[in-house]
Symmetry: C2
Subunit: 495 residues, 2 copies
């Protein structure tokens, strides 16, 4: 079996020397792991797939073709009846079935609330393709131009209004859920459409990772901290390895020998390709450093960073540094031991939706500090924008997200204006650096777990769940319950 | 001097028998009265006109030409310095200078707060024309398709963010103002962009006049009540007049004799044209039934409905009913006594921006009850939509405004989520039927004046202001002051 290492942005690969790749949400991994999760089929049996006809541009009256948005609705067996709640997952950058399968929390708690579950697919992902096909939707900047968060939120609003009308559920409170980019959508939707949803659980949602609100170094600093926490030797070995790789690449036949040593299917064009591949492994390991075995991005053991460092540290002092690195990376890329060679190439249709979003609205500046275990790098917006224009013919609007959704001074804003949002973050998660980590008001609550990784709370429960994870989920359930109770108590109020 | 009776919608004229014209906000009157207001030049001397480059579609990355948005900034002499507040008027459907001239309240109170004043022109009005000219902007449904409220709000948000950056005023609180449609924009902007403005004074903003939230009969019921309040005989005469007009029109030469009797410049094509002209007079009289002489829509005396009814009631019992009606209407259309004949024709470019908005997002159902002084009529959405499609090639989206901004159950929503909005309404104003008339929370406040007309509170103070008007303005000033004080107290808070 070959593992597709779908980690490199096209333009990062072509301009590798200028900076790190953009750390990405894990949307690309939807396909390989979809339905590999043992929990998935049990959940999948309960739901139905439906489609809803959406406008392509909600905010103009330009004549454009409608498209079919896919959504999951369940449980179809259904004890649900209005005005029981609707739990609505704001789909992110991938196949919606994959998010459904990996968001067991919602499926597990819905019965307690007799809630109807909806998982809505984000436009331009999965099968929810404008213009009839992915090929046409992803054809060029013009066809992609309606792939924006505001349009996605308007899709969700329109879908919910229509569903509530058709299900005679106008009195059913809606609670939003989302993880990662989906968590950003859930929080922003609660802000923008408070008349449609009574609250939102935004898990691992880095809504502050824009402009200069938080340090651009936070992502890689946290990855580095996660490794150092397990082993300072492991951290040191990784930190030293980049120069060794670069030096090795300068030898005659250096790229060929590196390619052999790392069991690559095709020879390297430059050392940056290898560094990016390793960078991705470390970054994703931090995101999925769960205390139980999981198969979210890759099949992995519990505490995978600990395992990686155990490998790296387990060599004799005289061992080659790159042997250590390869052994560590193999935990991530080849835990099953079945990979014959590693393919660093992106897939040929590599223009993923998230790349487009990162080159338009989702400009999340990323640097690497000298203290990190990565080569230092300062984010250079001019270069970033130039690469976006070269690759997609589009110019980013780096200040638009904060104009539209806020960000600067979000604390004051939410305190005065918002309510009923849970921002949950695990401090192992490199995205937590852009998260809301402090309570803002009695109903805008930060739940922070020191040992949590990327939206761990949204995963299905396991027997290996540590106590803090059980507790944070209970806290979430209690908060959601309080929103719903309050809604029912107040729903007699009208003007 | 000829008075342009710019009141008839093109399509209402072509399908006159099917229903009443859409009661319109008074944008069309911008030109005739602009700078006729004696207060205007005094205000005008203080301000500067500037322009800001705007995206045409904020919510997509489609390649479209930018346009120049006009705004007024003042006072330019300026004691203002950050972090003193910014007072921002959300321009509505017309020339921004006209709104500035007729919103003396903002100019009068700004010095108390050392506030900078901005009046931003709404896209597709005044000189803020996409595609370089009104002719090109209003060419067809395609060119008009970006004339939407969401785009206008995004214009204001973008302009404010840019202004604050350029003026080093990131700590200056922004307070929004708006009357009528501009009041709807101010309230919606506070809801959608709470991070940009700390509060909004939404005067005479009928945000509930959509779908079935309020009765579609409210507008004409209030007009009728305003007349009955002055004189039940006046009400009765008007109520009877419609049948008389219709019957007279059926006589041989009836249309010609009606045209003579009403001093029309051109003969009537049908009696509906005349009825619509009268309907407009009564509707607008209700809107501007101020206790002082004004020149907002037309030059008018104080308490103009009282004057109209005095004319109508002043005839001998044997007098012809249409003589009474003509005398009454002349108060509205010819108070200065200089009109030689009345021109009922719309201007040849009658495709006004508001007509387009009414045919796309701003679908405000309007019926006339049997109890009103108008011919009974039930709103027929199918016919309305068909006429819109015939006239503009566009299909309305009648549920979009409530999807995007709420409306149903707005009380619950605002109570739980919003803060710092004043909804002021005068009960003489026919638009008050779609207004928020009850306090929603301690900081979402309804200020209702029994004797107020359309956004009377926003007008410059006069020596003839009644006590209740002075008081309501003081209440507004105190609320705005409390928002600003609270903002400064809390602005040390950050996350």
């Amino acid at each position: 079996m070959k593992v597709l290492a779908l980690l490199l942005l096209l333009w990062a690969a072509t301009a590798a020397a200028t900076g790190p790749q953009i750390p990405k949400f894990p949307g690309r991994f939807a396909r390989p792991t979809f339905r590999n999760n043992p929990a998935a089929s049990a959940i999948g049996a309960k739901y139905e797939i439906r489609y809803f006809r959406q406008r392509l541009d909600h905010f103009s009256f330009a004549e454009l073709p409608d498209f079919d948005q896919r959504y999951i609705i369940g449980p179809s067996g259904g004890r649900w009846a209005p005005p029981s709640p609707i739990f609505f997952y704001c789909g992110n950058e991938g196949n919606i079935e994959w998010f459904s399968d990996n968001t067991g929390f919602v499926w597990e708690i819905a019965p307690r609330f007799s809630a109807l579950i909806i998982f809505a697919e984000h436009r331009y992902y999965g099968t929810s393709m404008p213009f009839g096909s992915k090929e046409k939707a992803y054809k060029d900047a013009e066809s992609l131009s309606y792939l924006t968060t505001e349009q996605a939120l308007a899709d969700y609003a329109t879908l919910l209004i229509d569903l509530k009308r058709n299900l005679s559920a106008s009195d059913s409170p809606v609670v939003l859920f989302g993880g990662s980019y989906g968590g950003m959508l859930a929080a922003w939707m609660r802000l923008k459409y408070p008349h449609i949803a009574i609250g939102a659980l935004a898990s691992s949602a880095p809504i502050l990772q824009f402009e200069d609100i938080v340090s651009p170094e936070s992502f890689y600093d946290i990855v580095s901290r996660d490794f150092k926490r397990e082993s300072s030797n492991c951290f040191d070995v990784i930190k030293k390895s980049w120069d060794v790789i670069e030096a090795r690449g300068k030898h005659s036949d250096g790229l060929v020998s590196l390619s052999r040593e790392f069991k690559l299917c095709k020879d390297l064009n430059n050392t940056q390709e290898l560094s990016d591949w390793l960078d991705s492994a470390y970054s994703y390991l931090s995101m999925v450093d769960y205390p139980f075995a999981s198969n979210f991005l890759m099949p992995l053991p519990a505490y995978p960073i600990k395992e990686v460092c155990r490998k790296i540290d387990g060599f004799s002092d005289a061992a080659d540094i790159l042997d250590r690195i390869f052994a560590g990376a193999s935990i991530y890329y080849n835990y099953t031991g079945t990979v014959e060679c590693f393919d660093l190439e992106d897939d040929p249709h590599g223009m993923s939706g998230w790349d487009w979003q990162a080159c338009t609205e989702m400009v999340m500046p990323t640097s690497r500090s000298k203290e990190s275990m990565f080569p230092a790098y300062s984010f250079n917006y001019t270069g970033y924008a130039a690469q976006c224009f070269q690759s997609y013919g589009v110019r980013p609007r780096p200040t638009w997200v904060t104009t539209e959704f806020g960000g600067h001074d979000i604390g004051t804003v939410l305190k005065k204006f918002g309510s009923n949002i849970i921002f949950s973050n695990g401090l192992l998660d490199p995205w937590s650096g852009g998260g809301v980590l402090q309570n803002i008001s009695h109903s805008i609550v930060a739940l922070v777990t020191e040992l949590g990784a990327h939206h761990i709370d949204l995963r299905a429960s396991t027997e290996d769940d540590p106590k803090w994870l059980v507790e944070v989920r209970e806290a979430e359930i209690n908060l959601i319950k309080s929103w719903i109770d309050e809604y029912y108590q107040e729903s007699s109020y009208s003007i």
